[in-house]
């Protein structure tokens, strides 16, 4: 469990940014992962009074505030209407409902965990992150950056008619994934993403769905306590086939 000397319920993003300039400060999302560490925090900054817990939609995009919970994403009618069961499939294996009612989108994305189901899933869509200082940037670019003192305020998903499916393999239900996989299709473009490799999620694009399995084999995988490099490489082919079949069924 972390320790904290001060707690501030931020009243504005400017206040949160100012407080977060100190290296000893930390932003708290849902707190589910933060509590697993032993971080000694100076000021714990709470964004929950800034209205970042909304899912807002316009004609072109859906904006998910950083404090939106995984459960909100799972049950959102807006997300279901635009992307079918994709968002629910992405989060349904993450521990349990009571965990998903706590854990936030911002906490998952900003931490850039290698095992993140969320990062894998979102990278298959046309997504941008909104940062308090830097403004918008593509999620893929953000995922590659080292964490800094800027604050993630939202993830914006383009409603571009893209179809996407999500697959993961776990040693046991609700455990962290051995491998995560997302596949999306729009026009002539197929985008395949693998996460929990066990490194951070990475994506590849192709115009030929016949090449997806070969491309899956070209990702770099590694071994850890949940699975070997060889096992992950084998799973990558299996999940790609399943994802492609599911996508074709859903597109029919």
């Amino acid at each position: 469990m972390y320790t904290a000397s001060n707690y501030v319920l931020a009243q504005s993003l400017d206040q949160a940014l100012e407080l977060n300039r100190k290296r000893s400060s930390a932003i708290i999302g849902g707190g589910c992962w933060l509590r697993l560490g032993r971080k000694r925090i100076g000021t714990l900054i709470d964004l929950s009074a800034l209205g970042l817990d909304k899912i807002q939609e316009n004609e072109e995009e859906i904006s998910l505030g950083a404090m939106v919970t995984l459960r909100q994403m799972e049950t959102s009618k807006e997300l279901e209407a635009a992307f079918g069961p994709f968002f629910a499939d992405m989060v349904r294996h993450i521990v349990g409902v009571q965990f998903r009612n706590c854990a936030t989108l911002g906490g998952s994305v900003a931490a850039r965990f290698g095992f993140s189901d969320i990062l894998t899933g979102l990278m298959a869509l046309d997504c941008q992150v909104e940062l308090a200082q830097k403004g918008r940037m593509p999620l893929e670019e953000y995922a590659r950056l080292a964490p800094d003192r800027d604050i993630l305020t939202a993830v914006v998903v383009k409603k571009d008619g893209r179809k996407a499916v999500y697959q993961s393999a776990r040693n046991i239900s609700t455990d962290l994934p051995v491998l995560t996989c997302a596949l999306s299709h729009k026009g002539d473009l197929w985008r395949l993403v693998f996460g929990a490799r066990p490194g951070k999620a990475e994506a590849v694009e192709t115009g030929d769905p016949g090449s997806l399995e070969r491309l899956a084999g070209e990702f770099s995988f590694g071994g850890n306590m949940r699975g070997s490099e060889e096992y992950r490489r084998h799973l990558a082919g299996v999940l790609t086939r399943r994802a492609l079949e599911q996508l074709r069924r859903e597109e029919e």
Binding site: A4, R35, L44, V95, G96, N101
Partner: protein
């Protein structure tokens, strides 16, 4: 810092540290049904309702509950007793350690899902670990309790 919550329908105020969890605060308020099992945000034992939604009280900072309604097993005694009878009949409770969190999750599910299927029940309760029952007896108890409630509503 001071936190004020409506705990099981009664307004309660207490002092917390910036890193106090809701779980610790609730224990300090005398709600001893709330227990911490795993310390890894995983087992569901510490589940309570925050504004009606099941959450892990071990992971929610106490200050987040300020101004909100919190319900623990102590606040749902009648419903818990009714469901508990079905659990007992089906052998769905052995050591009973997981029961407080499990019962609160079942009550939340019954409010949230209408006529849940077996798969929906299993998925909703996947975050409540039980090391005694193997879950089948719990599933039977839930289905019979839901059916009895529905019958009672007619």
């Amino acid at each position: 810092m001071t936190v004020t919550i409506t705990l099981n329908g009664i307004r309660r105020t207490g002092e917390v540290q910036p890193d106090t969890s809701l779980y610790t605060f609730l224990r300090q308020q005398g709600c001893l049904s709330v227990k911490c099992g795993c310390e890894t945000s995983n087992c569901g034992l510490c589940t309570v309702h925050l504004d009606g939604c099941p959450v892990l009280s071990c992971s929610v900072p106490a200050f987040r509950a300020d101004g909100h309604e919190v319900t623990t097993l102590e606040g749902v005694q009648k419903e818990a007793e009714e469901f508990g009878a079905f659990l007992a009949d089906e052998g769905g409770e052995q050591c009973g350690f997981c029961s407080p969190g499990f019962i609160l999750s079942v009550l939340a599910m019954a409010r949230e899902l209408e006529n849940p299927t077996d798969d929906q029940i299993k998925e909703y309760l996947a975050g409540n670990l039980c090391r005694c029952t193997g879950y089948q007896s719990q599933l039977r108890a839930i289905k019979k309790w839901l059916a009895a409630r529905k019958e009672g509503d007619k």
